[in-house]
Symmetry: C2
Subunit: 666 residues, 2 copies
């Protein structure tokens, strides 16, 4: 067995991609193998090679091809970004080298890819899921419209057109489109600064529609320009914190509505009913069979409470009711969009924020369910679909729609197969808009508040926050900042804090990176961080350091220079104390294997370091420099200054510098 | 020879830091050596080890000590920052474990370290250098004060007190302290927005002094808080661009003054004289003996032109002259500082910008000469010295002083030994303030403009700009942005652009990092970037990738996941085409050796990647994860999900996964 394994690896090492029938090449391979084996057998360590082999490896390091320049890099990245979607390169290039009409249609309308396999069984499941969805969606839509300070029917409108558009263009099969709590909160917290919804509801609504248009335009633009990565700027931790904060803010707002029903006789009962609903929502996730209860409960509550108010005429005793809801199809709102008002610039800004938050929520939801079912989402296509759906929405009296956390879960649990469930839901909502709005006249406002409240616990993910705390304390900081920012300052500040902290983390990591001492792992030619591998041992006479950063640049080069110099001087002092000048550090090896790039400031710092070390009787050697690094070091003539002290591995550096006679006598 | 070398390396590999007299340890070492040798000899490649050795190495990776937590990290970094200067840790800790009065004094007053060795020879040289410096300093100071829109004497005041303070507290021995062109320009471009220097010169002066106070306070604070790294935020490239831009702006301003001398008879002569002076300045750098000419020329020009104006009374024919310069010692300006004015906040902001620019110039100058002479500068101490000197300056009618590029070069060329040359210069300026200001009455303003002009070419470093272009195109972008920003917009915008681009570069590098395919370097167990090492060969059945970033985080994790997945699918497709399913990629090895940290978002992306790969018939293996990475992967339970597929090296990953029978049948 051992022999076979050996043989296998030998050949895989030395004859990759060669055809054994090519005898000349094969014999060469054999020869090189024999040579290497001799080397391997005659010396102990891998680094101890014949001068020829060592020289050859030296050449590998020094004679690298020129890396692509800035321009060609930019061109490649531009091409990749523009002409090839991130996540389905294969689909757009591999299989269709020349785009056909079908392939283009397939790209624009992803449902075409599954519609051939669509059958009656799947359709039945989708109808079932769509109806379930509608029963949850109708009361939620009315509630969220109220949260966004719009008339109730706008929530319902938003549950008609956007789902239909998404069903045609979107690639997710599970996501449930419509108004959501966080976006409604965002709108109602930012737009009233420009127009007051109570004194001037029509101007407010026009502004909401304009913001919706801008949000859609930004989303579509992100999709077309392939800026899918923008969504990632809100990190997972930030979303967890932001959602929880938003849920708390909405909850506090809704409690006011809920407690406004002072004269309602069964007040406590309703609360307890809703607490149980809210609990059942949670348990339903665990007991899949019970999800019906959770999904239907809001509609049942609405029907029951409306009936109760109608029968007791509690509205005459102070219970606020929804009253008139305009029925009928979505009216056109083209004339309501305002591009010349003094608020247009501000509306565009709000549109951008809302666009990003809506996309983040939708893509987070979409991705998690896609991963569960094993298909892939194209972030850019999703953005385009969301954009088109919101632009269309803004023309048909809808406000910003996106994928809802709670309803998507219900859709999934109800067994949806494709986006057809969204179509079924939209049609159901449309029918209720046409025929049932009168029935909702007596619906108490408090019940809508309760329905919103019941959806909130789903936004607060304590176990995820705990997980973040356990795994990454800095991530938790982002999460906590988003949460507290939203809760105590404002939604925008919370978002800004989260994004700011996330990027500050990246920069901080680059500004003051640590350095680590490397040691040899016993019995190998591998060198590892001495703190990570306590088993690693130092090499007398040499200090091996690595920078904990991918960039040696203006912001950290002097810091690192100081660190390495101090480390070297300390080691030298210790060496002097320990043994009589024998183990004195003569060589500082900088392992550059993780340095991806350097700049002119850092080359200057390296030169200074080399001078400083030399004046203290030490030498600098570089191990394993990467492509751009070695190229720039050559251009800057630094390679000449440390000629002969650039190596492929740390082992070779030790071998060559500590045993060679060229070493300066110190 | 070969045998000795072998023996040496063996012992250095296996018995580092062990005392041979300790027989037990020694025998253990021998045993482990024998074991390893057996392994080495019995198999071909280093990775092909006995199951025991392989298991042992596996344990090294998985059983790492817990890395220090966030709090202990913060504590360490806080301690290091506060209690130990960056660049002379040895001095403050190593040699004086308990601080004595002497050691404290040594830290506060660095000159104490050289004053013992100070002797008459050195003193003579310092006097010579100081006098040379004064001859250049007096006309420059008057010129820069005019540039800063202050009365001429303020320039002279600034050349008295700050150099004296610096000589006591600073650690550089070459730097020449006083007013400089760039800072004067900065003040005169920012402060007039608050107070107009022509209509209200007293209020303007008060504001300048207040700004000076704030600048000093910020500098001292940076020094005390050990924020020395702040200076690095202006990268080398940015400074080159910024200085050149500032020189052009100043030059254009001064040309106006120069061309204002329309009635002066010898106009063209003066220009030609100054052109020659300017040329001689440059050649003087090359011909060290001639630096006298350059250093003395401005003073000589002043004397000659003053005499000429006095004799011809050209001032009556329209030649603008300096007129009255208030003589005498620096007056106190304590009462001129304004901390209650409406401009105080703005003054503090300007103070901060000026403080950073002044420090950047001083430390850049100081460092380059320290490196030349082979001593070390402590950035934090320098900051403290600059801060105290500017605070004291603001109380004694000085404006912001710092280290001057041109005068430091003259000081160095004149053979200065210590900061005593600054004292000599200060005393000389003081004497001229006391006795010679009347002599400057007839000095034409044009000659001051010319002196400023003559110092400008030294700020424009075209060869350095060329070098930056050659080595690093992105750095050149920073340089060009700083230059053009200063030239065409404003000094602050130029600075902001340079700093902004520098940091944007860092962030961009982290957001969309590339991935690289690794291949085996022939005859070794090393894997390198296949583009860098065209000699590297792929391993059939495995795709080895590395992320070109030190952080796998929210901003790039999904991008990288997509990239790796696409790469794997492409390789798989090619494999299928090439040979009948034999070389089909079954294993994707992610080399994590350069990933320093991950966050929860990236762990989620890794989980998704693992799922995506599995559903395409591939497996994910990790090689060489770093300390924090493996720790977080364990906390997140990801290690359990890819149990047995985390390895120390890529070679081991290939060995274990491609030959083991545990591999999923595909």
């Amino acid at each position: 067995m051992a022999v076979t394994r050996e043989g296998e690896t030998e050949s895989s090492q030395f004859t990759p991609n060669t055809d054994p029938s090519n005898t000349k090449e094969f014999s060469q391979t054999l020869q090189s193998f024999a040579e290497s084996e001799k080397v391997q057998l005659s010396v102990f360590s891998q680094t101890l090679q014949t001068p020829v082999a060592s020289q050859r490896r030296h050449d590998w390091v020094l004679n690298v091809p020129e890396p692509p320049g800035l321009l060609s890099n930019l061109k490649t990245s531009f091409k990749k970004t523009l002409f090839c979607p991130l996540e389905n390169k294969i689909q757009c290039l591999g299989k269709h080298p020349v785009p056909t009409l079908v392939s283009i249609l397939n790209v624009i309308f992803p449902p075409l890819s599954w519609c051939k396999e669509y059958n009656v069984t799947k359709f039945k499941r989708d109808i079932l899921a769509g109806l379930t969805l509608a029963s949850l969606c109708i009361p939620q839509s009315i509630g969220y419209a109220t949260l966004a300070k719009l008339d109730p029917q706008y929530g319902l409108y938003t549950s008609v057109i956007p789902p239909l558009i998404y069903a045609m263009m979107g690639s997710s099969r599970d996501i449930a489109i419509g108004p959501v709590a966080v976006v409604s909160l965002l709108l109602s917290s930012m737009i009233p600064k420009l127009e007051d919804p109570t004194t001037n509801p029509i101007a407010y609504r026009k502004l909401v529609l304009t913001v919706t248009f801008f949000a859609g335009a930004f989303q579509a633009a992100f999709g077309l320009l392939r800026l899918g990565f923008l969504v990632d700027f809100l990190s997972h931790a930030a979303i967890v914190g932001f959602m929880a904060g938003a849920a708390c803010v909405i909850g506090l707002q809704q409690l006011k509505s809920l407690l406004g029903i002072s004269n309602f006789t069964n007040k406590t009962d309703i609360i307890s009913v809703l607490t149980s609903i809210c609990k059942s929502m949670h348990t339903a996730r665990k007991y899949k069979k019970l999800f019906w209860l959770a999904a239907m409960a809001p509609l049942l509550s609405v029907i029951m409470s409306t009936l109760l108010v109608f029968l007791t005429r509690a509205d005459k005793h102070g219970v606020k009711i929804v009253k008139h809801i305009t029925g009928g199809l979505n009216p056109s709102s083209l004339h309501e969009l305002q591009f010349n008002s003094p608020h247009t610039a501000e509306a565009a800004k709000i549109g951008l924020i809302v666009a990003l938050v809506a996309l983040t929520e939708a893509i987070a939801v979409g991705r998690s369910f896609a991963t569960m079912k094993g298909y892939r989402l194209d972030g850019n296509k999703e953005m385009l679909a969301m954009g088109v759906m919101n632009i269309t929405g803004s023309l048909t009296s809808c406000y910003v729609a996106t994928g809802s956390f709670s309803r998507t879960a219900v859709n999934f649990s109800a067994g949806c197969e494709t986006a057809v469930s969204n179509i079924v839901m939209a049609i159901t909502v449309l029918i209720s808009l046409e025929f049932c709005t009168r029935l909702l006249y007596f619906t108490p406002v408090a019940i809508l508040a309760s329905i919103i409240l019941s959806a909130l616990p789903g936004l607060i993910n304590i176990s995820e926050a705990k997980y973040i705390w356990k795994v990454d304390k800095m991530d938790f900081l982002t999460c906590a900042a988003a949460f507290l920012g939203v809760l105590f300052v404002s939604v925008e500040i919370g978002l800004l804090l989260a994004v700011g902290i996330s990027f500050a983390k990246i920069i901080l990591n680059s500004i003051q990176p640590g350095t680590e001492k490397l040691g040899r792992l016993p019995g190998s030619d591998l060198f590892g961080d001495m703190e990570q591998y306590p088993i690693a041992t130092t090499t007398p006479g040499a200090l091996i350091v690595r920078v904990k950063s991918a960039l040696l640049c203006f912001a950290n080069a002097n810091f690192i220079r100081g660190r390495i110099l101090n480390l070297a001087l300390e080691e030298q002092d210790e060496g002097v104390m320990d043994s009589a000048n024998q183990d004195r550090v003569q060589l500082v090896i900088l392992d550059m294997s993780n340095l991806l790039n350097i700049d002119t400031s850092s080359i200057a710092a390296l030169e200074d370091l080399q001078n400083d070390l030399e004046s203290n009787g030490m030498q600098l050697a570089l191990a394993n420099p990467r492509w751009h690094v070695i190229h720039k070091l050559r251009l800057a003539n630094f390679l000449k200054k440390i000629e002969g002290r650039v190596f492929l591995t740390i082992g070779e550096a030790i071998e060559a510098c500590l045993t060679s006679k060229n070493m300066l006598p110190i």
